[in-house]
Subunit: 270 residues, 2 copies
């Protein structure tokens, strides 16, 4: 959580100048608070200002961040770190170390891929908000990144100075860390706790950071559109199981086949 | 992100007084930064100071927060909100609206249960950090909450003024929103997008907030110990599939049976 003097001064500039950031206004003079209590009580609401970022720089920062604070921190810091430099406050006040928790599918439990937790969090800062309409704007971008992740042979970006020169690609068919890693192990023949697998997740962090910035840049240009949709097979499942259907006994925007009917048979005798 | 004048003044107190919070020290006087650049560059590292909280108050705040910003925000704000009052800075500077993104298993995709995303994030602020040893401390508490969630008939807390007087309990066998909801639909006979199901997730938010605070209070007392462990069946799976095993082709701390071999057969003909 080191913040350069320049970045922090930007933040203080915003603190003292105030206007233009969701109404945030905090005047600190001679060590006492400003008298205008109403202004003092307001912090900037989401979404926060965004400047178009360099996707390749985000990818490289993501890869470096992976080896500092794992997958989720890697993606989040690659975006918030650039915004801290380009925008300053309020990004100077984000404790990005919090996102370390997304590591290994949230605290090493291997549920949601941490790179996606970092991506979703960064997108929500830039495009989301408490208001349901704002949430929906951010969720559309997040869902695009998630479906791209499920359906694409990843990693699709090679870091400039990788620890391993070649990393096999695999399609996860799932947003889950557990499934994504097992599918990669099957393709690559490497073990789940090997250094090669770890580096693969560094490459994945870079790839997710890059794609997330590309989508956020489109959002900034107001040209964002959903590219990836659920597979026809999953849409068929949803026609009986999702909102408004006969059964309506589930929810979700995930590839059904990523988990269901896989393995197709009972476990072999042990 | 409203912050009371009292809370913000606490924050500014910490900003000007500094010491005792991971070395954070920022003096703002006459509108200019302090000359000590080294001190200015440091923000408080995790973990942040914790005061034991009221679990029932967290549960009630969690239920109220659910109807404001959904499950993940509900749990996170129920804890950070109390800490903002009891501790002040640095909790006064946390944009808790960010955690809205965990809604419906992250942006409505139904992967990791949002209440657990909120819990994990709050635990990491209080008990975690970038250092791997600090991460491990937080991850143990988070994994306890996750395994409790998987194995317990929930919700096990009834809010004081619930929208529905009675909500069926179910065991999720999974940390996933999608699975948790489908299992509850099967038990309760309500649909996945019904008002009853939504209220059930409000109760779940309350229950997770309460249990998380109970575990954090034990951590504060240095009496925290893991209570819930993986089932014997899952440990048997791990003996061939996890770290150091013959296959070592997966990772995770999740009930294997929550997804695998469920359904046990192929989908019926449609």
């Amino acid at each position: 959580m080191k913040v350069s003097r320049r970045e922090l001064l930007k933040g203080v500039g915003a603190l003292t100048v105030g206007a233009g950031l969701g109404g945030f206004s905090l005047a600190v003079a001679n060590g006492v608070m400003a008298q205008d209590e109403k202004k003092v009580q307001t912090l900037p609401d989401l979404p926060w200002p965004y400047k178009k970022l360099d996707p390749v720089l985000a990818a490289e920062d993501g890869y470096a961040g992976y080896y500092k604070g794992a997958c989720s921190y890697g993606v989040f810091e690659s975006i918030v770190g650039q915004l801290r430099k380009e925008v300053g406050f309020p990004y100077t006040m984000v404790p990005t170390t919090l996102l370390v928790v997304g590591q290994g599918g949230m605290a090493d439990t291997a549920s949601l891929c941490g790179a996606l937790t970092g991506a979703a969090s960064a997108i929500f800062l830039v495009a989301g908000g408490l208001d349901p309409k704002k949430r929906e704007v951010a969720y559309k971008i997040i869902q695009e990144v998630f479906l791209w992740y499920e359906q694409t042979a990843l990693p699709d970006y090679k870091p400039n100075k990788p620890r391993f020169e070649s990393i096999a690609k695999s399609v996860s068919n799932s947003t889950l860390c557990h499934v994504s890693i097992s599918r990669w192990c099957k393709v690559s023949k490497f073990k789940a706790f090997s250094k090669e697998r770890s580096d693969r997740c560094g490459w994945i962090t870079a790839a997710v950071a890059k794609y997330t910035v590309e989508m956020l840049n489109k959002h900034a240009d107001t040209t964002f559109k959903t590219i990836h949709t659920l597979s026809p097979e999953s849409q068929k499942c949803r026609s009986c199981h999702d909102r408004g259907s006969v059964l309506e006994n589930t929810r979700g925007i995930m590839d059904c086949g990523g988990c269901h009917f896989s393995p197709k048979k009972e476990h072999p005798k042990i």
